[in-house]
Symmetry: C2
């Protein structure tokens, strides 16, 4: 798997927050979000805490609390989310897991993978929450997972 489940959940949740946020100073309830996306509430909470610590979300406790984007959706990229949750390893590590692999001491697939992972990085960096959630609205794309009991 390229991304951890936590990371994909974090992406779906961030898109959901972007989509649901209409007014300023509005927080999206984690409980409601977990219901809508069919993601376990407690697990989602833990993931969102990572995004909060990374400065991508802000949170508010108490009534009308929840999470909100810390900045405009066009300033948040998918790459920001991947790195906040899975870390930067995907974009730096050797495909064959050889430590120290690089142009000086390459592994047998170093060149090809270095270019492929850079393309991946550019793909994630090029997708902001703004244009992705615009796509979601315009094309009625899916965000939620199927119910666990189905």
């Amino acid at each position: 798997m390229v991304l951890s489940k936590a990371c994909t959940y974090g992406m779906l949740a961030s898109l959901y927050v972007a989509k649901e946020t209409t007014r300023e100073n509005e927080y999206v309830s984690i409980r409601l979000m977990s219901d809508e996306l069919n993601i376990s509430f407690h697990f989602l909470t833990k993931i969102l805490q990572k995004l909060t610590k990374a400065g991508i979300l802000i949170s508010l406790k108490g009534p009308n609390g929840g999470v909100a984007l810390s900045r405009a959706p066009k300033l948040i990229t998918m790459l920001d989310i991947v790195i906040a949750i899975d870390g930067p390893n995907l974009f730096t590590e050797c495909l064959l897991g050889l430590p120290g692999c690089g142009s000086q001491k390459p592994c047998p697939v170093h060149e090809k993978w270095a270019s492929a992972r850079e393309d991946l990085r550019i793909m994630f960096q090029g997708k902001t929450l703004a244009d992705t959630s615009h796509d979601v609205e315009a094309l009625n794309l899916r965000l939620s997972l199927p119910k666990a009991d189905s």
Copy 2:
């Protein structure tokens, strides 16, 4: 992580077998290979059994036994090995883990990821054991992992 450790070990081992095979009807000792590559013998054995069952390797028990490539190295691609060990999921699954994601019912990053994963597939398919192990010889590329105790 893109590939499981088992898969990367399988790749390194296959390259090692390709490199070590000089004569016909020659088998490479798994014990020796595990020493050279610094991969646990028993774990490596289990991985090689998968490659044998997938028809990529053939094995022989007893003295002078071991494993050998089942066909010419130019007829074995990295993709064959990935699919034998990790299965085809990497090249078919949704990046966000949404089941049923496809051009009909796409996830928010479907288009970009579908193209990126196809590039990945082409990369693996384009790298045969023959040209990869040729690179290893010509450029003196590394194959082995560092010793565990270092």
